[in-house]
Amino acid sequence: MKLYVAEVGDVDEAVIRDLEARIGERFAGWDVSRLGERLEVAGTWDEGRRQFASTELLRRVVAALPADGSKIVGVTECDLFIPMLSFLFGQAQVGGPAALVSLARLRPEFYGLAAAPDVVRERARKECFHELGHAFGLVHCEDRECVMSLSTTLAQVDEKGDEYCEGCGGKAEVRGFAKGRSEERE
């Protein structure tokens, strides 16, 4: 089973390499590969919102999934929106083939703070596992420590862990993609 990581526009190489390694560790049994081509973001910029259209970018990620792949996660530096919401950390199709994660609002620089590469990598990991969890059929979890808990603020991203709780991990294991917190402790 093959899982692709796609660059959507220009993306920080250090972050994407870290994600590839961490996805490989967490999603045991999956062959994690970088998509050969970088996906274009041109045409998704909305001048009024001064952001990129998430739904269109996710469509491009879905379309880029190679025939030998089962899942694909796109990573972008673009700040994403959907018409109803002012921003998104990421988007995925529940039980679908693709997920998309934006690094824009995970960076302290976005809020006028000093850069912190380690913090960004950790946040990216959480959001990546979260969105991939959706792609594997998981929905939001009420356990605030679980990586599948909903984060609508950066503080919530920082507060939650980067692991699946016992319940989500159990489902994840049934679906054959990752292990839950309790399993890893054993």
Binding site: P83, M84, Q91, E142
Partner: protein
């Protein structure tokens, strides 16, 4: 297994509909979309949505407010959230006046919409809890409360619906725990007797003389300790329904008395000389084979025919296994309230285990199993481990379920496989349990090619 609330998003812009729907699906909601007010109304007629997100400005025929007003008429209990990009005080006031629960301006912060949805769902959950508790308190059950996806059970409910308005005596048959009283209550509640009493008597629970007094009452001085006149269940059920459970267990004398009441609609209180006339619909229930009891002379044939005017036969749970997940979730929701302990769902593994079990005690046993798992569980999700107590009986049945033609060798193979499964492949434990030494067990595993 979590209860899934349904949401409808109504907007003429496809990308708006689809992106909001996708975002809400990540929260576990089942979300549909509609491109116009008219399409939304058509969907509202056919489906029960908890929340409607409706865009105020939609071209053609029906705008957001009009769509909302029609939907509010169809589904007064649903919550409507009006969405607009043109925030004006006037439209907000109009929307709220016409019954919108909330009004939001797009684009909004994800936290804002998440809070809004959570607030509405919290109220929905409370309303549902309230309904469940009220039903429980009043002991009122309607057909909608009998949960089933099973074809045979649906035929039974169809029959029950047809016979509810009649006056005829009904005999409900089925194994213990299949819901005979629930069906009797549903018949009563759907008849024109619903406003009157539903009185239930378990005939097996009382000795003959006590049951006689219980059913027919007694006069003052009828026996030692009878200090005053007491009305029996037949009188208490006057105008309503009397449910006689375990009718197969009553004595020959009571069979005769009961036959007389059914024929003449009149009886005498114990120790009484004055005839008491009543208008009671009798619904009897039994788990015993009454035809056989008649053939063996234990049950009066004439009473059997009097009772068996309409027969309702309930299938055992093992013959309607597709209902197990539905019922387990229903009990979890109901028992969470009663036990005062929250568990949101039942894991897929646990549901698999529940499907494997044969449920000799039927729906009642399933309810008890969910309660036991809920009380002893530590997490938010009832897992396979929480239902481990069912494992022993499943394995016993699998081990004992040998067909007539099975060889001793095959029986031995099955017993070893079942024991290894129970001990999760622990050879030492399995050998001790089977009463053989480890090397013998290894030999047999190898010989039979049993996977550990």
């Amino acid at each position: 297994m979590k209860r899934q609330w349904r949401i409808l998003v109504v907007d003429d812009e496809e990308v708006m509909c689809e992106s909001l729907a996708a975002w809400l699906r990540e929260d576990g909601f089942a979300v549909d979309t509609a491109p116009s007010g008219a399409a939304a109304v058509a969907l509202a007629r056919a489906n029960d949505y908890a929340i409607y997100f409706i865009d105020l400005k939609m071209p053609g025929g029906m705008d957001g407010i009009e769509a909302m007003m029609t939907i509010r008429e169809l589904r007064p209990e649903a919550a409507v959230v009006i969405i607009t990009a043109y925030a004006t005080v006037d439209t907000a006031i109009t929307a709220m006046k016409e019954g919108a629960q909330e009004y939001i301006v797009k684009p909004c912060n994800p936290a804002e919409i998440s809070l809004l949805v959570n607030r509405i769902i919290k109220v929905k959950n409370l309303e549902r809890e309230n309904t469940l508790l009220r039903q429980k308190l009043a002991g009122q059950y309607r057909f909608q409360d009998i949960l089933t996806k099973n074809g045979r059970m649906q035929q039974v409910l169809e029959l029950v619906r047809e016979i509810a308005p009649l006056r005829s005596t009904v005999l409900v048959r089925g194994e213990s725990g299949t819901g005979k009283e629930l069906v009797a209550r549903a018949i009563h509640n759907c008849s024109d007797r619903a406003g009157k009493a539903f009185v239930a008597v378990s005939c097996a629970a009382l000795a003959e003389t006590l049951l006689e007094t219980e059913l027919f009452g007694h006069e003052k001085g009828a026996f030692t300790g009878a200090n005053g006149q007491v009305r029996g269940k037949f009188e208490l059920a006057d105008g309503g329904t009397l449910f006689l459970d375990e009718i197969g267990d009553i004595s020959p004398k009571l069979q005769r008395d009961l036959l007389r009441v059914l024929q003449e609609r009149a009886f005498f209180r114990v120790g009484g000389t004055e005839e008491v006339r009543v208008d009671v619909r009798v619904i009897a229930a039994t788990h015993v084979d009454l035809e056989r009891a008649v053939a063996e002379g234990h049950f009066r044939e004439d009473l059997f025919y009097r009772l068996n005017v309409i027969e309702v036969k309930l299938p055992p749970l093992r013959e309607r296994k597709e209902d197990i997940p539905l019922l387990a979730h229903h009990f979890l929701e109901q028992l969470s309230l009663e036990v005062g302990k929250r568990a949101a769902e039942i894991s897929e593994g646990a549901v698999g285990l529940l499907m494997e079990h044969d449920w000799p005690g039927n729906v009642r046993e399933l309810e008890n199993a969910v309660e036991r798992a809920l009380v002893t569980s530590r997490g938010q999700v009832l897992s396979e481990t929480d239902f481990q107590f069912l494992r022993a009986s499943i394995e016993r049945r699998q081990g004992a379920g040998a067909p007539d033609s099975m060889t001793l060798e095959e029986l031995e193979k099955r017993a070893i496989a079942a024991t290894l499964k129970r001990t999760v492949g622990n050879i030492k434990e399995a050998a001790a349990s089977l009463g053989i030494d480890r090397s013998t067990l290894y030999d047999k595993i190898k010989r039979y090619g049993i996977a550990r």
